[in-house]
């Protein structure tokens, strides 16, 4: 168990709902769920969630901390917002799912092998490196996530798509060396560093 996880468990004892409200982005909305299940029935990947949103909300209230945070479920969210626009209580469900996933990752409780988690982490690293996404590196990074041979295999399997995009002028091989970027990279790094500092400060003052 990570140190942060241990200290958080001690702080909230069995009150997982309060833990979610205080630590998860949009977490204060969880108690508003009335268990109608429209979200679960509206999800395009609904069949693949071990616990669809409605169930996760009830599990949070029931204190099923381990089961919720180690679940694969919220990582299945495609950010389609179908549940959000249909929810009769107007819960920002997409945001709550992202918040839960992010919190689980922070505590080290997210599943170890979770492709969407890997992609999410790589995307953030990629887009904040220069301020703009390097699509080629992002894709290759994902292929080579499971090692060199696996990457070569995946790259080979997808070669026709890559060549098609290249021919269509929608892929630039030189992005591997120098991609699109912002001019004021220094400013971007400084502002992101400051944002992290502010968040650490806030955390400290509320605890």
């Amino acid at each position: 168990m990570s140190e942060l996880n241990t200290s958080t468990t001690e702080k909230y004892h069995n009150n997982f709902l309060r833990e979610v409200e205080e630590n998860v982005e949009e977490g204060e909305w969880v108690k508003m769920c009335m268990q109608c299940g429209v979200c679960s029935g509206s999800c395009p990947l609904g069949a693949h969630w071990a616990h669809p949103p409605q169930e996760l909300f009830m599990m949070i209230r029931a204190g099923k901390r381990e089961a919720v945070l180690s679940s694969d479920s919220m990582w299945m969210c495609t950010s389609c917002y179908n549940c959000v626009v249909r929810c009769p209580r107007k819960l920002p469900i997409t945001g709550i799912m992202h918040g839960l996933a992010s919190y689980a990752n922070k505590l080290g409780m997210a599943p170890k092998i979770q492709p969407t988690r890997d992609f999410s982490l790589q995307f953030w690293k990629n887009c904040t490196r220069t301020g703009r996404v390097n699509e080629l590196r992002l894709t290759l990074g994902l292929y080579f996530n499971d090692g060199l041979m696996a990457g070569i295999k995946k790259g080979w399997a997808m070669r026709n798509i890559g060549l098609g995009l290249l021919k269509a002028g929608r892929l630039n091989p030189f992005e591997l060396f120098k991609g699109h970027s912002c001019k004021d990279q220094q400013g971007i790094q400084a502002m992101l560093k400051k944002a992290a500092e502010i968040e650490a400060r806030r955390k400290h003052s509320t605890h």
Binding site: H48, N82, W124, C127, L165, A195
Partner: protein, 305 residues
């Protein structure tokens, strides 16, 4: 002076040789005809999209978006910010709502922005290009420059998710938005009005991480277009375009299907109808060729009466 001027937020996919490069090309052509001046926001950055939540904290994602607003307010004051990418628009607009309604978050964002010598003032709205077309011009106005009606082509209007939810286009429903069909008809095409997958999710960013599950979505989206006897799909979203076009060959390998449905942008339809060439409409940027549209683009425009 141009009829309308906007601060343009193209986004990462709409750059030179990026995955939606042809969206940018066709948007530029379309705007030229409509006398719209798009000035790119100087040094704009990535919005973080919807997928960066595991890596980026709430404030850092907000700050990324606040930076674009601040740059727009500084360099292009008084102009509305316009995005062509659904995710950019959504990311920016969602951030703006938070910054404008939560004083603490706004103060925090500004404290961070100060490190880059910028300030978020909350004066600039962000809009999708489709909103600009419909609200600032209107269908009748958009129909005026049409010199080559897209006769004989049936389009399945695939609206997708993020241009439709949670904000959507004013006056449209989430379940059955009609604007894309209306745009198709405005440029003389036939709209597949019974296309049932028009707001289905293509998997979005999960097309990369949950390929099987997303490809099942894409298969439904394409097959429904075939069911409606559509010649091609048209969409306002660069990720929808890429996912739905690019993975058809993979789906064919896995399912033994023979899908080859072209996927185009509304801006390409408009460019061709306005008399633009294949190149000006970015029709040279496809893996599955939108042949019928290319044929119209290659025909000489009829002489003005």
């Amino acid at each position: 002076m141009a009829k309308k001027e906007y601060a343009f937020y193209p986004g990462c996919s709409s750059q030179l040789k990026a995955s939606a490069a042809n969206y940018l090309v066709s948007t530029s052509s379309m705007c030229k005809t409509l006398d719209i001046k798009l000035t790119p926001i100087p040094d704009w950055n990535c919005c973080g999209a919807s997928i960066s939540y595991a890596g980026g904290s709430e404030l850092s994602r907000l700050v990324l978006n606040a930076r674009n607003f601040a740059l727009s307010e500084t360099h292009l004051p008084g102009q509305d910010m316009v995005a062509t990418c659904a995710a950019c628009w959504l990311g920016a607009r969602e951030s703006k709502e938070k910054l404008d309604t939560n004083a603490q978050l706004r103060a925090d964002a500004n404290e961070a922005l100060k490190e880059a010598g910028l300030q978020y003032q909350g004066k600039t709205p962000v809009r999708h290009m489709v909103e600009v077309l419909i609200e600032d011009f209107g269908y009748a106005e958009l129909g005026k420059p049409v010199v080559k009606p897209l006769e004989g082509i049936k389009f399945a209007g695939y609206v997708g998710c993020q241009t439709n939810r949670p904000f959507g286009i004013a006056g449209e429903s989430f379940e059955n938005p009609l604007y894309l069909d209306k745009l198709v008809e405005t440029v003389g095409g036939e709209a597949a009005t019974q296309y049932e997958q028009k707001v289905t999710c293509c998997g979005g960013a999960l097309a990369f991480s949950e390929t099987e599950k997303s490809q099942k979505q894409i298969k439904d989206i394409v097959e429904s277009a075939y069911d409606q006897k559509a010649d091609m799909i048209v969409t306002p979203c660069p990720l929808c375009q890429a996912n739905v076009e690019v993975y058809q060959s993979e789906i064919n390998k896995k399912y033994g299907t023979k899908l080859a449905m072209p996927v185009t942008y509304y801006s390409q339809l408009m460019t061709v109808a306005y008399g633009g060439s294949t190149k000006e409409a970015g029709l040279d940027g496809h893996i599955i060729q939108p042949t019928k549209l290319q044929e119209i683009a290659d025909k000489p425009a009829p002489a003005k009466k």
